[in-house]
Symmetry: C2
Amino acid sequence: MEAAIMGYGTIGSGVAEVLRINRESIRKRAGEEIGIRYILDLRDFPGDPLSEKLVHDYRVIAEDPQVQVVVETMGGVEPAYTFVKAMLMAGKHVTTSNKALVAAKGAELTALAKEKNVHFMFEASVGGGIPIIRSLNSCLTADEIEEITGIVNGTTNYMLTKMSREGLEFDDVLKDAQDKGYAEKDPTADIEGYDACRKIAILTSLVCGQQVDYEDIHTEGITDITATDIRYASAMGRVVRLLASSKKTKNGYAAMVAPFLLPPEHPLYSVNDVFNAVFVHGNVLGDAMFYGSGAGKLPTASAVVADIVEIARHPDAGLAVDWSTKKIELADFNSIRNRFFVRTTAERPAIRAVFGDVEYIVAEGISGERGFLTEELSEAAFAAKAEQLQGILQRIRIA
Amino acid sequence: MEAAIMGYGTIGSGVAEVLRINRESIRKRAGEEIGIRYILDLRDFPGDPLSEKLVHDYRVIAEDPQVQVVVETMGGVEPAYTFVKAMLMAGKHVTTSNKALVAAKGAELTALAKEKNVHFMFEASVGGGIPIIRSLNSCLTADEIEEITGIVNGTTNYMLTKMSREGLEFDDVLKDAQDKGYAEKDPTADIEGYDACRKIAILTSLVCGQQVDYEDIHTEGITDITATDIRYASAMGRVVRLLASSKKTKNGYAAMVAPFLLPPEHPLYSVNDVFNAVFVHGNVLGDAMFYGSGAGKLPTASAVVADIVEIARHPDAGLAVDWSTKKIELADFNSIRNRFFVRTTAERPAIRAVFGDVEYIVAEGISGERGFLTEELSEAAFAAKAEQLQGILQRIRIA
């Protein structure tokens, strides 16, 4: 089977590397050799062993009937969307690691692939090497998935873990993460939760079988999390983690990305550093969790190559994912219910007047403010109460 | 698609229940309705809604061309083996939850299924509802799996968790586990590690693609673990867990079932109570972990039904698992290397004379003995040294 790789950056070159390193076992499992026929990139790579495969025009690939499967590892919606669409139109299977593309155009591209009887696969778009997409599509098929909650951004998880362990402030760990290559120069997509938002949009789509617009998902990042918050968390025996969550409620799927305080008994509590994990609750399966490297060159490439192997084994698609382009209405954010941890400069009588008899949290060495836990409240109810209380410094939801 | 269930016990009736509870979503994912045409059991179930489907002779099922898929949830090698073979011979797909059957006859039945172009699936035979079999066969296909280590027996994990939390002795927690229905009246298969041994034999087979004889796997249970061991474990910040492990070494796959001492940073450290988890290390994926309900009626039935859905979606098998009947030679047990925790009544000079400058572990309230950690030693080297030291009370390997 002849493949082409569009985008020869970290993941794209990782795909070539995995195909080379594990060539023999991949050939055995795929039932045939996977060859790389073209690499599409705007750049040149003189000296690279695959430099002779380089082309700069995607139409060369689309028009070559020898190419059966195309790997898209460019990132971003355009021009990836145009290129992928052209490949599907030309009857080629596509696998992508591009969550921006899948979140924005996944339903449409799935429908187009179905029409052309080819595969559109995207295992690597969520959770890097963790096989969460295939688990949802092919393994947990006997269940109604009632909750899916993940730590799906390695950058922020690395930062929060380091803040917890070393008591550092946000800006310091961001600089460290950038120095180590875990955060990009412009870290906005990670630290503001946009990356996690696209991923939970994809997972929610697969669970409900309809288009989820990621713009509809309430998204908060971790930029407001301070060393003081972490000290309170430790006093509670909890950790702060950026969760991307989707729960089936009577009002529809309640989806959200935000920092949460996790107790030790939470299945995601021990997920540290750049690791990712996705927790799933099925109505007959009960609790399950998938853990692994959520990013990185080779783990992500491993997922892309697993897609290629799957395509080689089932060249007749047919088994298309159930992902309708019909948009689903998510549950109203204001109706989502959680407990909240609150920090405020207000005094206890004022707190009691608004929130009633709350549970206070005392963290050593912190003065001039009070921390407390509310009862379970809807977002609307919490917002209304928060407006009545002076001096709120922070609020973090409780998982 | 018409199904038959052989064995209407806990799992078999669970399969019927899952098909009923999630009928609509299963029909959607399978692309057709899954009907139950027969139930095979020696017993009668008067009043059961499916009692009219009962038959007592497996040949009724084998000879009915309407039956396309057969669920085997009887347990044990015979007569399950005879029945399953007859179903495959008759051109029917089979899915089983029976680890004894799969460990003993998996390679042979896989080959027979391939010959007949039908499926032989066994997702539920390891890890209950955790989709570890399909992950190995269909998801992690780009990797060389270098290690697979699991907590795959819920009974012993419940017992070890309870011993840790409450400081109880083995016999007391066994009684509690039996009272709660987590351990059978005859608990031998669980507490002696035989159940875990069959499961790691299956997983190792899938990783190496050959027959692994479970009798070749060194297996120790948890019957020797005492409250004193657990106190030492706590003093080290570790927990005792029964691990079933298989590692690729230069001498072949080193497989073993035994209690191990796990540090907090071990991915399986937080797996408590009846939960199961399987840790996998792939050469490009890195570390991954799959966690969930390893037993229980509905979680296990969920895995069986997911097999049925997969069969309905791909009625043309072809994609058979790579599992040769050719037996693989495992690495010599004596060559496997680990660190050991040792308890002995010997004095420090005697210990030093045999094991050198070891790391001593002091646990509060324990006297008249010494606990220490050895350096990494082969099993052969450890056994030779242990023979030279008087008064050894216990030894547990370090993970």
